[in-house]
């Protein structure tokens, strides 16, 4: 192992180069934008850099694990996550009016974050188990597996995370071939339960929905975010105002500008051209994800890869949609760009699984 070239090959054995380049380009874009969003605060940028390195390390680790092993821990991970969620409900820490964190003495964890990956893993595993004899009852069980954590997280309350997990689970159902009739039926039931959901929602969640319908109604309160971010994006024009020259950003009109609303900073400073390039980058990464999914060897790998890729897309769409004012403000970060370590780790963990699927020898060819 003294030959550096051989070491390099050894280390990158299970890394999908195509995907890695795409991810690194997105992350670099993130750092550049963050530098401007934090008013040139190097220590925050460094911090984020460290977050990224940690997340990349985790991605590398996961990529090196053969899928059979990951499959084996799907159920234990899911069970642990579910138990932790129950613990959160019983004795979680209240922060910001929501009970999301669990204090383990040594460290605090947010079990809902774990569920983002555990739920699709579990469902994919379940369907893989019952692959040969898939019946309607199995869909029922799988839906239950999905709804349990979703309801627990909804109660915390954390609407954003609950919806994302629900989406990731739905993708698994969709990809297994859930019949269209049932989906249409579910959609009708869903629409019918809106009044019920509305009554279950917390005040701040209702306000967000109302704000979406008419942001100007509450211009200094909940609508402020959307108004300021659309002004930032619109005033950016085709070419943008230039890096570090966004007035909305630097005169402090933009809220949450390094986390959930970082896209407004990017868009104000780099304009339509920047937006298009960013979308293109995302399309490339998602495209690679779809390619890996299409060529995945087993039911389990297909489902998990598809769910991860589609969830990644969902993050992007929900975040951008909220920043440009077509979706309500839910706390969803822009993947690989927003400041924050947790979502970075969750994202790259997912990509680690994709890489593992792509690069490990496909023993079971179908």
């Amino acid at each position: 192992m003294t030959d550096p070239l051989r070491l390099w090959h050894y280390l990158t054995r299970y890394i999908d180069g195509f995907l890695l380049v795409g991810l690194l380009m997105l992350m670099t874009t993130g750092l550049i934008t963050l530098y401007s969003a934090t008013d040139a605060n190097l220590s925050r940028v460094t911090n984020q850099g460290i977050n990224m390195l940690v997340a990349l390390g985790i991605m590398w680790l996961v990529a090196n694990i053969p899928l059979q092993h990951i499959m084996r821990i799907a159920f234990p991970i899911y069970l642990t996550g579910l138990l932790l969620l129950l613990c959160v409900m019983l004795f979680g820490e209240i922060n910001n009016g929501a009970r999301r964190w669990l204090n383990l003495g040594v460290t605090r964890i947010q079990p809902s974050e774990l569920m983002k990956i555990a739920v699709p893993l579990m469902m994919a595993w379940y369907f893989d188990m019952h692959e040969a004899t898939l019946r309607l009852r199995d869909y029922g069980v799988a839906t239950l597996l999905l709804l349990l954590p979703v309801v627990l997280i909804l109660r915390q309350p954390d609407l954003g995370t609950a919806l994302l997990i629900a989406a990731s689970g739905f993708y698994v159902l969709f990809l297994t071939g859930l019949s269209w009739r049932i989906m249409v039926g579910l959609a009708i039931v869903g629409a019918g339960s809106v009044p019920f959901l509305w009554s279950m929602m917390h005040d701040y969640q209702r306000r967000r929905v109302m704000t979406l319908l008419d942001p100007t109604q509450d211009a200094l309160g909940a609508g402020y975010h959307t108004i300021q971010s659309t002004i930032a994006i619109g005033s950016g024009g085709v070419l943008g105002k230039g890096w570090q020259h966004g007035t909305q950003t630097h005169l402090d009109f933009l809220p949450e500008k390094s986390t959930d609303f970082i896209f407004a900073v990017f868009s104000e400073e780099f304009g339509l051209v920047g937006n298009s390039l960013l979308l293109l980058l995302y399309v490339v990464v998602i495209g690679r994800g779809m390619f890996i999914t299409a060529n995945a060897p087993t039911q389990f790998t297909r489902l998990i890869a598809g769910s991860i890729t589609l969830t990644f897309f969902t993050y992007i769409f929900v975040n951008m949609g909220m920043v440009i004012g077509i979706l309500p403000v839910v706390g969803v970060p822009l993947p690989l760009i927003s400041y924050g370590g947790t979502s970075m780790v969750t994202m790259l963990l997912g990509f680690g699984i994709l890489m593992s699927i792509q690069t490990h020898p496909k023993l079971v060819k179908t």
Binding site: D39, A40, G234, L251, N275
Partner: protein, 638 residues
């Protein structure tokens, strides 16, 4: 199902799967197209509209920082206040060549290397758009000189700012603490407690001591000014103004004069002293020596001074009274004696014949008394007066460690006292369970023996010892020790009194208490270990000397040979209260490497009590020296 059919099924399923995947892909592209359409709509079709809006986004809100609350001692003596001064500030982002600009500036106002270093440090820590001070506290002459040359320095401004000052300097520095510039870590903390909005515009916050612990009271509520600005950000008119609410003032229980007397009494020695009023829990003096000048920290300390303080072998930044853990030595004995009486293991009349050592039954190992040959016949009273070790070796063995721990725990040993300053440590009162957890070893009978004379695993802070002494002095009633007595608003109206209700009262037999207290009075009389220090006092006082062994010197610390010798000497301790019958003050004194408690710690206590009870200021000569050749008290045991 035969193999072929299954295979076909698989292929069919794969086919279905790929169809579903293709549908998803189409769906995603569609939604991305939707995003793009919206971008196009906002950034091309509506660009003019939003451009106008962005340009008109000129109502800016500027925070008005409230004046920080002041800190007074119990008599209204100022410990921390604010004064207004001019600073010369630079906005780095507006200056192309900082180095050249600063050089140019230094021809007009004096800029010391220290100022440059500090400025550099500030720049690394702050945002590009922030205005940073290169010089603080400009003289009138300097202000005038800069004003005349102002046109030469775009991006440089003179600003009037409020500065924090600690007029008493080193005195009570550990109590008052200091403020410093808000850094990233502070910001995260503020964010966590949802205080970020209130700190918009604030540059400083409390970092340690009361400045930190009472940050919420002292900071005040930030006001706001809504203003209309032009395209370049200049203010055209003020639309509305919400004035800030100044921070609240702290009125301490501390007596600054007493504090100073106590600090002077230490001379150059290292150590700590905590004095408490037993009837209220008011902390009268809280000394940790050496101290530091908190004024150094206010504008950001320069690296030279920081290294000096941080790397000093004397560790001046360490709050010994609050965080220093020391073996309590023989000051532990009064509590042991009381435990013996209360738990019916001893009575006051019972005595032992002290051969000068104690051995556990069935063991030849000798725990030696400090006095070779022993003290002869010793009863409870005598055991405290002459500080007999053998008596307490035997008593400890009879009580057992868990009884000792739970009884002395009632006096606050091994627990936090709940003082109103952050960073308190628990000390250590060992139990069998503790040793198993910490050392993965069972508790041996021998471990208990040395605990009995305060020389085993047990460790206490000077604050804990003072707290325990105050409970003893107050006949078993405990008050939460506190440094702040009242919180007042800016107009000096009392907002809050720190509660002086008792925490709890111990159910102690008055006769037992009396027996121990009488012995403690005799400690300060001829024949007692603190007789020399107490000689000629105009009031009766009760006390107990202690000497605690320095267990070892940490490896890897660099210091001079002569210092090493000094640092191997024992720590001197003394706890006391006075007047003995109706105590007004209870205190603990610790002198690091001071040798014997009666010789170095007790005289300090005497000076403090003389001043507090009689108003006698120590003579200069007294304050500096304490007789090193005092009476012997305790020897090494093994």
């Amino acid at each position: 199902m035969n193999r072929r059919v299954e295979l076909r099924n698989h292929l069919r399923e794969l086919h279905y799967f790929r169809i579903r995947l293709a549908i998803s892909a189409g769906f995603m592209l569609l939604l991305f197209l939707l995003l793009f359409t919206r971008f196009f709509y906002l950034q091309v079709s509506q660009r003019e509209h939003y451009h106008t809006l962005a340009e008109a986004n000129r109502i800016s809100i500027a925070p008005i920082v409230p004046n920080r609350g002041l800190i007074f001692d119990r008599n209204g003596e100022v410990l921390a206040h604010n004064y207004s001064a001019y600073t010369l500030e630079i906005i780095p982002s507006k200056v192309p060549d900082l180095e050249a600009l600063i050089n140019e500036l230094s021809t007009i106002v004096e800029i010391a290397p220290r100022d440059r270093k500090r400025f550099k440090k500030l720049r690394d820590e702050s945002k590009r758009f922030e205005s940073l001070p290169i010089r603080t506290r400009l003289t009138d002459v300097e202000v005038a000189r800069f004003a005349a040359n102002r046109y030469r320095f775009p991006g440089v401004e003179i600003k009037a700012r409020l500065f924090r000052q600690y007029p008493r300097g080193e005195s009570a520095s550990h109590v008052v603490g200091y403020i410093g510039r808000i850094n990233d870590k502070d910001l995260e903390q503020l964010e966590a407690r949802h205080d970020l909005a209130n700190y918009r515009g604030s540059l400083y916050m409390g970092k340690i001591g009361l400045e930190q612990s009472y940050e919420k009271e002292l900071h005040g509520i930030t006001g706001f000014e809504e203003m209309e600005t032009d395209a370049a950000g200049r203010v055209i008119r003020i639309i509305s103004r919400t004035p800030p609410i100044p921070g609240n003032n702290l009125m301490l229980s501390l007596d600054a004069k007493l504090q100073e007397v106590a600090e002077k009494a230490f001379g150059d020695r290292r150590g700590a002293l905590v004095a408490i009023e037993p009837d209220t829990g008011d902390i009268l003096a809280f000394v940790s020596k050496p101290g530091f000048d908190p004024n150094l920290f206010v504008d950001g300390i320069d690296s030279e001074n920081w290294d000096l303080l941080n790397n000093s072998i004397d560790r001046p930044l360490n709050n010994r009274a609050l965080r220093g853990m020391y073996p309590p030595g023989s000051t532990f004995k009064p509590f042991m004696a009381l435990a013996g009486l209360e738990l019916n293991k001893r009575n006051a009349q019972q005595g032992i014949s002290d051969p000068g050592y104690f051995s556990l039954p069935g063991s030849t190992h000798r725990f030696r008394d400090w006095k070779a040959g022993g003290h002869g016949y010793v009863d409870l009273h005598q055991s405290l007066v002459v500080s007999c070790d053998t008596y307490y070796y035997a008593l400890a063995n009879d009580l057992g460690i868990d009884n000792i721990a739970s009884f002395t725990g009632k006096f606050g040993l091994g627990k936090k006292t709940g003082i109103d300053i952050e960073g308190e440590v628990m000390g250590l009162m060992p139990t069998q369970e503790w040793k198993m957890k910490r050392h993965k070893q069972k508790w041996y009978a021998g471990d208990t023996i040395s605990v009995g004379i305060g020389q085993g695993y047990n460790l206490a802070t000077p604050l804990q010892l003072a707290f325990a002494t105050a409970i003893l002095a107050g006949k078993g009633t405990a008050f939460r020790p506190h440094l702040v007595k009242q919180i007042k608003n800016n107009s000096n109206e009392i907002l809050r009194e720190i509660a002086t209700e008792p925490l709890y009262t111990l159910d102690l037999n008055p006769a037992h208490l009396e027996a121990v207290k009488n012995a403690l009075i005799d400690v300060t009389r001829p024949g007692g270990t603190a007789a020399v220090a107490a000689a000629g006092a105009a009031y009766a006082f009760a006390g107990k000397t202690g000497t605690s062994q320095v267990v070892g010197v940490k490896q890897g610390e660099k210091y001079m040979e002569s210092k090493v010798q000094e640092r191997h000497r024992d720590h001197a301790l003394f706890i006391a209260y006075a007047p003995a019958k109706n105590p007004k003050i209870a205190l603990s004194v610790l002198v690091e490497n001071g040798g014997h408690g009666g010789a170095t710690a007790a005289p300090i206590a005497r000076l403090v009590m003389d001043y507090f009870l009689l108003g006698i200021l120590p003579k200069e000569s007294e304050a500096k020296t304490a007789d090193p050749a005092g009476d012997d008290e305790e020897a090494v045991h093994d």
